[in-house]
Symmetry: C2
Subunit: 180 residues, 2 copies
Amino acid sequence: MSDLIKIIQERRSVRKYTDQEISEESLNTILEAVRWSPSWANTQCWEIVNVKDAMLRKQLQETIAPKNPATKAIVAAPILLALCAKLGTSGYYKDKVTTKFVDWFMYDLGLACQTLCLTAQSLGIGTVIVGLFDHNKAAEILKVPTGHEVVTLIPMGYPQKTGSAPKRREVSEFVHVDTF
Amino acid sequence: MSDLIKIIQERRSVRKYTDQEISEESLNTILEAVRWSPSWANTQCWEIVNVKDAMLRKQLQETIAPKNPATKAIVAAPILLALCAKLGTSGYYKDKVTTKFVDWFMYDLGLACQTLCLTAQSLGIGTVIVGLFDHNKAAEILKVPTGHEVVTLIPMGYPQKTGSAPKRREVSEFVHVDTF
């Protein structure tokens, strides 16, 4: 099994972290990796906020349903990144919509997010992708400008323990030949 | 530089391929990797059509603007995958929309797509993500059922040559501290 396959298979949603800090160097490696993600016509619509301030973290926590299993991680994680997007570029050509899916920022942020999570995993750092929160309130807290959105919050840290993987469909269940 | 970083940085959009076939084993490795992608509450909305039939390839090619640089690849690539999504699951809780972004299939397909492209790259196989085509016509050609969408076409093969990377923004240009 190649290193990459191992990294892909061993990535988990990690919500509890040890006290070990993430070094500047490791964080830079992760952010540098995101830089090389592919995107619609290389539009690179991603923007990342590294939320360090405890008060801002607390406010972000309040945008999440208390029963969300990642609620504590928003405040407790050594690093909290907010993955944001510039709207109106990905999926557009000369400011015009080109496909039925209109803005492709969600697709491109997905690409960037997996780059981020796999690079973290390769350094032994756990991540969890949090998408269920009040996005308008979070954008206000992080002063996200008009024409941009905060899409996911990604707490990161060294895992306290490694859980088992949630079950996945078999390849034969999602692959079709010639037609769906 | 770790293997993963090298794979991430060396992945390119590859549109011209050698005659070398992609083995069953390599294709299975790539599809098996996709299986382990993360997704909204593990909903795994991805569906993949492996389009082998020459006539279907030709029809798909006609859904793409002739000046698209990937037009030839749709027919010529050793493998052509169509990345599809089931709607109404990712981003939903008990059939109800949970966030302002409504359906998260684009985000989850982005995650799956980067898993796919990086795994291919780790095997020396080039990919290009094609998103600009007539999605309704393509869905008709591939007999994609109601409640699903074909989102991207991904031609794959061993690269004829390796181009240079398009310029990327510096990390300092997209990373913000505490607020955007």
